[in-house]
Symmetry: C2
């Protein structure tokens, strides 16, 4: 007997063959996917403690948002359409210095997780400060998360003395390594232009010692690239490679400004990449050579970046933008086809995070992180190709059910783990202090 | 006494000053906006037949989708990620030849209007074939529309003999000129590469004679530009200008491949433009120089294009893409700021269609085409700047109420004018014939 049976559903497995089963079924047990199949028309449905008729909708792996800064939901739309330096120096950094505190990061992160889960994202990879003050809140929402304490060579929220940045991040990772099966700690080293070589190396050593992921913003803007060239005589990627930082456990976030040699370096090291097209567009950072990264076999996940630079955590829109941006940028409508982009938002994102043996596709033995979409919406009618709909038409509100580890998190569009109304009131009250 | 009073609402007027009234109110009467104001805390609310508490949400002008092909919702996601010629010649044109008929255009158009209205679009400008067979269906949905019968120098659905293309379009415009206050006929001349000079001139003459808008796809792709240069010795815009087609009543759709002279030609003629960023991205057509068009004072509306090339009719996503695409393309995060983009999706779109004296902003005397957004959604929390939210975070499902001409069309997320369930079943049945 299964715990949960979902039937009358189009199953988008995102397995190696991108198998799609119309009129399919998925059976869950022990928090894992037990069976994925197409029952014959006369086959009786197997017994399950709970049987869910999906009404002809789609079921697919939960989305993987591979780059977020959860508490920055507090700053959603605080400042937009500004030159990068003005935006950071006059708005975001001062707001962080003044308003990011042990009291504010948890509601900010909780709001972000609510948005993520309601929109079908079941896993996020986050990096921020004061993580010990919101890690438990993240776990409570029911999401799966990788969470890294930020390391930067400036005074930061919770780390006034930069000399303690790596030690602080390491202590968090050490403390949380075995705390939750759904939250894996990581170390989030901000970037090669805000961290010294010594800091970068120490952070990587700490991450390796604990067997956790190192996240690092790398080659995001041309300003960064030019600065590294000027100060280090090489590209950001060559610089990080020279410090021995690149391997499958170092997640390169953005990776926009890459030359051919950088690309080969990343591929040879097996380092994964997170592509954040909407943040890169909005901040005018540039266009990452994602089709080339994929062709080189590099694991490329998708991320929204924080809510201050997007301004939402909508991975459906991110899929749509990823598919369309590269088509127009390459002058080729065949690049970044829908299946490729769905993979990036699920199993390739999981691979980038080192989680693809556990999540990212609907295959027996994997953890039961999955989402069921509503069947009955005009913008999803008619249905010819599920992958096309997922990339070019679906949106967060199409998500009806969300399960993580086989447990209900969103049911019929309602988040079961958070008092969303109360939380929004709390964040709105904080916002009145942030911008009176 | 007013007909409808909406209060406890942030009013995004989109007037010349982009006035925003928090804790504002809007009063409607006789299908028009009568009053827009911020009531004092102790002011009694005026009498109205119906008083709507918006719960702290936003009210704004209904969105204007300035370029659609409504019946193509039948082909949503039928073929994607293909070279343009393969997509057209092997998929779209054959599907149109085989499946676009008097029996299919109405359900296709109705589905598109349902999607538009549910997502807060109250006006669309459409061009397609067999329009006499779906014009009434469009009116019945409650949307405001400009609808042009297609003119093309090939056999087309309903016009097997191209020699009759302009006459057919003119007959429709003549017949429908006074049929409905919400549907204005137009003539939709497909493009300078699919219509001869003679056809283009005849279509324009017919449009002028009847005082209706001429829509024309122009300078969409580099292939078109190269072909016009080769065959006519000039750019598509210079060619159309040479035929005397450009004036404020000729709507140039796409306008991607423009040189400096084209831009001056358009501005001098006062011809309006529709920008369709997502279609241009998905088909890899190119990036229209929209910031330059705006700087030249040209009226630029936003359009989704048809569902076969987008694949939805979501003008929120189109706003988001418009803002972000030009930032990354220009390497400047300050271009296409949120207010500018909201204007394009409302009052500038109305101006492009010649409707800005009637609709496009919440100002007394204008027709009461307006939408109310839900207040209570995580991805819209907190709220610092309404325009930022509208462009970078809002989405179709945030639309709670929609009124056109002061009449309810969508209430609490339900479309009152169409049996949406029955319609989706009908279109899905048609789709099984289109792709068995």
């Amino acid at each position: 007997m299964y715990d949960i049976l979902i039937h009358n559903v189009t199953v988008v497995t995102v397995d190696a063959d991108f198998t799609i089963l119309s009129n399919g079924a998925v059976a869950l047990g022990g928090g894992r996917i037990q069976k994925v199949w197409r029952p014959g028309p006369d086959d009786p449905l197997p017994d399950a403690a709970e049987t869910i008729d999906a009404g002809g909708g789609m079921v697919m792996p939960g989305l993987v948002n591979a780059h977020t800064h959860l508490p920055m939901s507090l700053f959603r739309g605080l400042a937009d359409d500004l030159p990068l330096e003005t935006w950071l120096d006059n708005h975001i950094f001062p707001a962080e210095a003044q308003h990011i505190s042990p009291d504010t990061v948890a509601p900010g992160a909780r709001l972000a997780c609510a948005e993520l889960l309601l929109g079908g994202t079941t896993t996020c990879c986050d990096g921020y400060f004061l993580v010990t003050h919101f890690a438990a809140a993240v776990v409570e929402t029911g999401i799966r998360a990788i969470l890294g304490q930020g390391v930067i060579d400036f005074p930061a929220p919770g780390v006034p003395d930069p000399a303690l940045n790596v030690a602080t991040a390491k202590a968090f990772a050490e403390q949380w390594r075995h705390w939750s099966t759904r939250l894996q700690p990581a170390i989030f080293c901000h970037s090669p232009y805000t961290c010294s070589a010594r800091t970068l190396v120490a952070a990587k050593q700490a991450a390796d010692e604990l067997g956790v992921l190192l996240q690092v913003h790398a080659a995001e803007s041309s300003v960064e690239r030019d600065r590294l060239r000027r100060e280090q005589g090489r590209s950001p990627i060559a610089y990080l490679s020279g410090l021995d930082l690149l391997d499958p456990n170092t997640l390169l976030v953005h990776a926009v400004w890459l030359d051919e040699e950088d690309l080969q370096t990343i591929a040879a090291a097996g380092a994964p990449v997170v592509h954040c097209p909407e943040s890169n567009m909005k901040l005018a950072s540039g266009v990452s050579p994602v089709p080339d990264l994929l062709a080189a076999g590099i694991a490329v996940g998708l991320g929204t970046d924080g809510s201050a630079s997007n301004n939402d955590l909508d991975l459906w829109s991110e899929m749509d933008s990823a598919a369309k941006l590269h088509k127009v940028h390459r002058n080729d409508p065949t690049v970044m086809d829908a299946e490729t982009v769905v993979r990036m938002a699920t199993v390739e994102g999981a691979r980038a995070l080192g989680l693809d043996r556990q999540i990212g596709s609907l295959e027996p033995g994997k953890k039961a992180d999955l989402i069921v979409l509503r069947p009955d919406r005009p913008h999803l009618t008619p249905l010819y190709h599920p992958a096309s709909h997922l990339v070019y038409a679906a949106r967060p509100d199409d998500v009806r059910h969300v399960l993580v580890d086989g447990r209900w998190v969103v049911r019929d569009g309602s988040l079961l783990t958070v008092d969303v109304e109360g939380l929004m009131a709390e964040v709105s009250e904080l916002a009145r202090r942030i911008k009176p």
